[in-house]
């Protein structure tokens, strides 16, 4: 007789196999394990709680619908974050269509004022606790433009290479490189100003 699967202790792979046969409790267990990560990734991309919630939930629905296609080449969480990233990009594209590109954005594409800024010699993260570090990153990410944040998140968090980013964002590798460079330089400047703020307190 088949042994009953203990959902709480089963590995992701086992849960996926059971869920692929239509078992919803197994899928719910997978959601409960990875929902925070997926939500955090959507939030990093969209910077909006409501939109991140909607998109992450939509990703789980899509995940269920496509579960039979999951072959297990990558981990389940990685597979799911790719779905959420694609949905975030679609969402941002739809939003972008409603907006017109401003001159400021074009300037950002090529580096703007931050490109001419001197390189930092002091480490802006020195002596900070992990929680404080994450808070600072979070505050600095808010201040990046959407296009630069997108590329940074895809490279640093989603661990895509230039070619993959160019493909999913529908732009050239040159644009990915300049956006990433600008995003990093601006982030360095923002972290430095946050450090100064903290030091003066």
């Amino acid at each position: 007789m088949a042994r009953r699967l203990d959902l709480k202790t089963a590995e992701d792979q086992a849960l996926v196999r059971v869920a692929q046969r239509g078992n919803m409790p197994a899928f719910e267990e997978l959601i409960s394990r990875h929902r925070d990560k997926l939500y955090a990734r959507a939030f990093s991309m969209l910077r909006n709680e409501e939109e991140a919630l909607d998109v992450s939930q939509e990703a789980w629905v899509k995940g269920w619908q496509r579960l039979k296609q999951f072959q297990g080449e990558a981990g389940f969480a990685t597979w799911m974050t790719r779905i959420v990233i694609n949905l975030c990009l679609d969402h941002l594209r739809k939003k972008k269509r409603q907006q017109t590109e401003s001159l400021e954005e074009l300037d950002e594409e090529w580096g703007g004022a931050e490109r001419r800024m001197p390189f930092l010699v002091v480490n802006p993260t020195e002596g900070l606790e992990r929680i404080e570090l994450r808070k600072r990153i979070d505050r600095a990410l808010v201040q990046l433009s959407e296009a630069h944040r997108q590329v940074l998140v895809l490279y640093e968090f989603e661990e895509m290479d230039y070619k993959q980013i160019a493909k999913v964002t529908h732009c050239s590798i040159g644009t990915v490189m300049s956006r990433l460079f600008y995003a990093r330089r601006r982030l360095a400047a923002l972290l430095m100003s946050l450090k100064k703020e903290r030091d003066s307190e």
Partner: protein
């Protein structure tokens, strides 16, 4: 330093250059103080960002979050068979349109026969969504055993966001 060189230093740190190009950039960074400073800044920033993705938790309970996904899945599965039957010939479509209710009815009778002799009451739930574009969310908290039916109407449903009702399920 021009922008092309700056981007090359970045690409070198990101392991995106060929072996020859990487050797060229490494030589430049070893001798040029400006290139060195940029490489140091980018390197420390990369390490710092990579390891510190903001950690967030879903601002909804497990049950509530799942109830919305479950409903969306159920809705999408209801829509799928309808669209599948759209391409069938009229006779097949007619037969299928009758087959489903008859099979459903037969299943219902079978279930009734099976459960009728039991003394305990089955869990039962049926909720009407309000009219005029409103909706309903239904979930059960396993910890307290509490069942919640949350009604919202078109005028306002600020479950998480008072300005929008987009974050909750729409009625069918």
């Amino acid at each position: 330093m021009n922008i092309e060189l700056e981007l090359k230093i970045q690409a070198w740190l990101d392991n995106e250059l060929s072996a020859n190009e990487a050797a060229e950039v490494a030589a430049l960074v070893a001798t040029n103080t400006e290139a060195q400073a940029l490489a140091a800044e980018l390197k420390s920033l990369k390490a710092f960002v990579h390891a510190n993705e903001p950690a967030l938790t879903v601002p909804e309970s497990r049950e509530f979050y799942w109830s919305k996904i479950e409903r969306a899945i159920a809705q999408s599965e209801r829509v799928a068979p309808q669209s599948e039957s759209a391409g069938l010939s009229p006779i097949f479509a007619w037969a299928r349109s009758w087959l489903a209710p008859v099979a459903g009815l037969a299943a219902m009778i079978a279930v009734l026969i099976v459960i009728a002799p039991r003394s305990s009451e089955p869990e039962y739930s049926e909720t009407d969504t309000p009219s005029e574009g409103g909706g309903v969310i239904h979930f059960k908290d396993p910890a307290s055993g509490m069942t919640v039916i949350w009604f919202y109407d078109q005028a306002g449903n600020p479950i998480q966001n008072p300005d929008s009702i987009d974050n909750v399920e729409k009625p069918e």
